[in-house]
Assembly symmetry: C2
């Protein structure tokens, strides 16, 4: 017989390791599953196993996928001369939703953050450079976040990528579309002024 701690405490602890879920939320989720039909919990449990067993990283862009190559890397109609570098898969999905981009992606799975012990080697920068070395990419668009980690990562990658591509670009900063100027923070307003363009 194994020494087993209380199953409720165990699940509360397991939920609590997830990002954005504190002790109270973890308790609430646990009791919710206990009050629901067992099928709900069984499905969640099975779905987690399914993801762990069947999802891997795309060999090219490193996004999560069930095949060797993700649908975007497999898509012959995408512009293979442009790679857009993002921190997370969610960022890639956000850009896809905009319908403004037809090139390929590269997912870093994070940003450089010395304070959290995340160095460049923890990201997928090596495999990005290997893709660039093939010489088929002319523009690298760096779409990391605009916080310190994202900016550091952008500069780091820009330097490494420079020998292999014609240009390295960064997403513009400025006013949100359909937004009100008075609610825009000073740093963003500063960027909007600095990068103002002719009308």
């Amino acid at each position: 017989m194994t020494l087993q701690k209380d199953p409720i405490e165990r699940l509360v602890k397991a939920f609590g390791t997830l990002p954005g879920i504190g002790e109270k939320s973890a308790l609430r989720l646990t009791y919710h599953l206990l009050r629901s039909q067992p099928e709900k919990g069984l499905e969640l449990s099975a779905a987690i196993s399914d993801v762990l067993n069947n999802v891997r990283r795309c060999q090219e862009c490193q996004t999560f996928t069930t095949a060797d190559l993700c649908p975007i890397c497999q898509d012959e109609s995408r512009d293979k001369s442009t790679i857009c570098v993002v921190e997370q898969v969610q960022d890639m999905l956000a850009i896809e939703r905009s319908h403004f981009y037809r090139g390929l992606f590269h997912v870093l799975h994070g940003a450089i953050s010395p304070i959290d012990g995340v160095g460049p080697e923890a990201l997928t920068i090596d495999s990005l450079i290997k893709r660039l070395e093939k010489g088929q990419v002319s523009e690298l668009i760096i779409a990391t976040n605009t916080d310190t980690g994202g900016e550091t990562t952008a500069l780091y990658i820009a330097r490494l990528a420079a020998p292999y591509v014609n240009k390295v670009t960064r997403l513009a900063s400025g006013l949100p579309r359909g937004g009100y100027l008075e609610y825009v923070d000073s740093a963003t307003l500063g960027a909007a002024l600095k990068f103002r363009h002719d009308l």
Copy 2:
């Protein structure tokens, strides 16, 4: 071969059925598990199964427990002449943390809410009345929430319980301890005035 939908979509959907987790959070949790060590997801999956297989309701107070009776109902030192009725297990834990109560509990697992299709029969009111019928309880403290559902449930239970107990009480409403009067909402302030006591 079974027709299987995408494992990522499946897990996002499963997370999304949990309370307080919308589509964005569900995506974030899914990608978090994919980026983490597999042990983390395996533990969560196993913990859910563990809870579903080994946790049931206390035969007396209906709280979640791994035995026939919960530790509180098993505790001979508790005052068995008082039952405190709460909506959720979390409410019971909150009262326990206050260290002001030494009686027993009864967990309703919800509140009457016609708008959500929750009638009295969906709660554990039947088993509460069965406990009261034994004639050992003199005071029933109704500690349901102070929203419409909680108040309705309190009145409903008070009427049913009246024949079996000496008194049915309700938790006091009033100012929070250590709080500032100016931040207290009008309804609470009204209750604090109405139930003011001599000093």
